[in-house]
Assembly symmetry: C2
Homo-oligomer: 458 residues x 2
């Protein structure tokens, strides 16, 4: 019987995360005083145990037993050979997907949510506050908080809040609270509403609201949580790639191409970083993070120092950025509408170690529908971006007549995003592509900021 | 590291289904002439290869390789120890759940949908027609048809169609068509609308519509499909219990209590029948099918001969029935609103081999929310019925001070049913309990029908 799905036993779960900061150099975050941010300066925002992880350069970091205990509800996740998808494409490539949709919230996000909730709890924190775009992250944190008995408050980008009412229901079922952002609860939210009462919102604004709400709680028992971008988030997600490597080894395979969609970068990093380590050590692999053409952070925006949020509460981070005031078009992939990009992913782009791709909405849904009708799983809109590039890579393998091995991260399912499929079938999706003028305009906000150094890791 | 989740490799998948008709006696279905129905009489409705399975009394039936090939997308499904749920209940019982929510449509239903689509395809059929209550079955058949290149048409009970618009989106994403029932497309639908233009619909009416649509296609290339009740459906679902037995064996466990919710009976039967076989062979096990108090087929209705559908297109089936004209209250568990019950499950009840339970809506959602906040997965409303009885069994073990082993079928997730959780949190759910008068009234429709014999298998 042909193997379709490669699984690992629980005792084969990775026991350590891979920290890419052991292998690449990154510019430091810069504080309001123009100097690198100290751990102490971040203490009102994050618990110190996570700050220590954020700045660590240890290559391997132990995963606490309590975190593994919760991850075991759905991990190790399956690695599946996409035999029917391959057949439909007529490609000689062998395509594998890492199925992160099997977690209770339906995406890769709980990999870090569970770790963050654990570290907050261990530090004596009682409440976590965050923002969410599409709702995947907010759901994941509400789930994780329920596992460790923490309160959870989520600011959800308004356009997604309105499009996806059931995300709020999910968070509430896990005991979390969810409000649309911008809200009137914070100064950052009130400012955004004053500027535009009908704003669809943005992750940048929602991050500002969540940080403000966290640091203004004087009890000292509340902290902020970010679901992507930061080093410790990338770290926690590497369990995806570490599992995938073990799974491919079991069947004697190794990838020629590694693909993941990238909004803040975490699901991409989670799958790709363990393979980046191999590439740094000499392996030949093509590694593609994929973004929407409507929010082309990696493919069109410069590598700069910019704030992670609209109200400029965060330090300056070295990253590809469309500008912290950027309000992206309301495309149906809320998780990929962020103005910036993880500093580590950005650094790998500047060094040419990974090659970003941008794809337009209709191509993206076409890929998702083909995947649903062959492999069965209805993917999240974000995931469809990775699948569109997977099709491109499979077609390239066909043209070249090569039996390439492609691995793609199936970062989540789309069962809470079905209205966007309805719009695709009704031909209502528009291929928004940002113009050069719009990009130049949005970049004005970081004029005068310090410039990151062009570091070379290799 | 403590094991939480027991998994099987693909090569450990069961290769045969268990057919309970080898071990119990059932009354035959009766046709319009008052005699047992012949296979030929069913030929316009089902393909002959499935009819042969329906009437087979072979104990073990091979699962075709093509069916296993598709099931492998998500099977073997995980068996998970509900450690956090146990802890919250303070029970000495060890509770395991079989996680059927990991299939692409999110429930156990594709176990038979895939098999039925395969057999229809093998018989030369090009289109399958069915009905769906909550939408789980219609989604599953649309998914299965997409796997084998078949057309799919689904009549969806109107109350669920209106409550859950995304079920239609799911079916369409897989290439299926879905209309609310009663529709104006069939005589059965038009009759129902004439009787009550505002009817919420019922599975009984929707079944009539689907059968009528299938048999009135003169091409001969269309067949009807039923997602529960019938012998071959129960058969295909036994892969659940056969896997579960292997998984429990791996950790040296055997259940004292087996629990599943039951609408037509298939997810219950799927988990329970392989254990029923052990009980027949002398094992001591408590086996509980669970239904809503608002549709108390098993606990309040008599064992009779009745039609499976409202328009009386089906043969008379020996089953517990509230009457084929019964329109159940619009509770939020569409999959449990059927007037009848699988003949095999009904037979086991009459013999006292299994003991049905009935639970009310608020208790049901309370159980689901506790499960979500401990084990993480948000269960389907149907599944919550099984979880409510699981809590009762866990509490009984606590009272008795016994380390019982309980296994429950997590038949599906509730991600397409979140609006019902909203209503629960808003205190809008009513504990509808059918009165004796209402039951007596609804039973008038089968007065004068033949009576089934009280058979004894053991």
């Amino acid at each position: 019987m042909e193997v379709r799905k490669v699984i690992l036993r629980e005792d084969e779960l990775p026991r350590q995360w891979y920290n890419i900061l052991a292998d690449i150099k990154c510019n430091p975050p810069i504080g309001p005083d123009g100097n690198p941010v100290t751990p102490d300066a971040l203490a009102p925002v994050f618990p110190m145990n996570l700050i220590e992880q954020e700045v660590s350069s240890e290559r391997w970091i132990d995963i606490p037993e309590e975190v593994l205990g919760v991850l075991k509800i759905w991990r190790p996740s399956p690695l599946v050979r996409a035999v029917a998808f391959e057949k439909a494409l007529g490609t000689p490539a062998r395509i594998y997907y890492k199925n992160e949709s099997v977690s209770p919230p339906g995406s890769h996000k709980p990999n870090t949510a569970v770790a963050q909730a654990y570290y907050n709890k261990a530090f004596g924190i009682e409440k976590m506050v965050t923002e969410t775009g599409a709702g995947q992250w907010g759901s994941a944190l509400a789930f994780a908080c329920s596992q460790f008995g923490l309160e959870c408050k989520v600011y959800m980008v308004r356009v997604s809040f309105d499009q996806k009412p059931y995300r709020k229901s999910m968070m509430e079922t896990w005991g979390g609270k969810c409000v649309p952002s911008p809200s009137t609860e914070t100064q950052a939210g009130r400012n955004a509403l004053e500027k535009d009462p009908n704003t669809p919102g943005s992750l940048g604004i929602a991050i500002s609201e969540a940080i403000e709400a966290a640091v203004s709680d004087t009890s000292g028992k509340t902290r902020y949580s970010l679901g992507s971008v930061l080093n410790h988030v990338m770290l926690h997600q590497t369990i995806i790639g570490l599992e995938a490597k073990k799974q491919l080894e079991k069947i004697g395979e190794y990838p020629d191409v590694v693909i993941g969609c990238a909004g803040g970068g975490s699901n991409f990093a989670g799958l790709a970083f363990p393979f980046v380590l191999d590439k740094i050590n000499g392996k030949k692999i093509d590694i593609y993070p994929v973004e929407p053409a409507a929010c082309p952070t990696m493919t069109k925006a410069p590598f700069v120092y910019d704030h992670g949020d609209t109200a400029r509460y965060t330090p300056l981070l070295p990253m590809h950025s469309l500008g912290h005031a950027f309000v992206p078009p309301p495309i149906h992939a809320g998780g990929l509408r962020y103005h910036g990009m993880s500093p580590t992913v950005s650094q790998l782009i500047t060094e040419g170690i990974i090659e970003p791709k941008a794809v337009a909405q209709n191509q993206v849904y076409e890929a998702g529908v083909l995947f649903a009708r062959t492999e069965g799983i209805i993917p999240a809109p974000e995931t469809n971006h990775a699948l569109a590039t997977t099709i491109d890579a499979a077609n390239q393998a066909k043209e070249e007549g090569k039996e390439k091995v492609i691995i793609v991260n199936l970062s989540g399912h789309g069962l809470l995003d079905l209205s966007s499929y309805d719009r695709y079938f009704a031909n209502e999706l528009v291929d928004l592509i940002l113009s050069e003028e719009e990009i130049l305009e949005s970049e004005k906000v970081f004029e005068g900021f310090p410039k990151p150094q062009l570091l070379k890791s290799l």
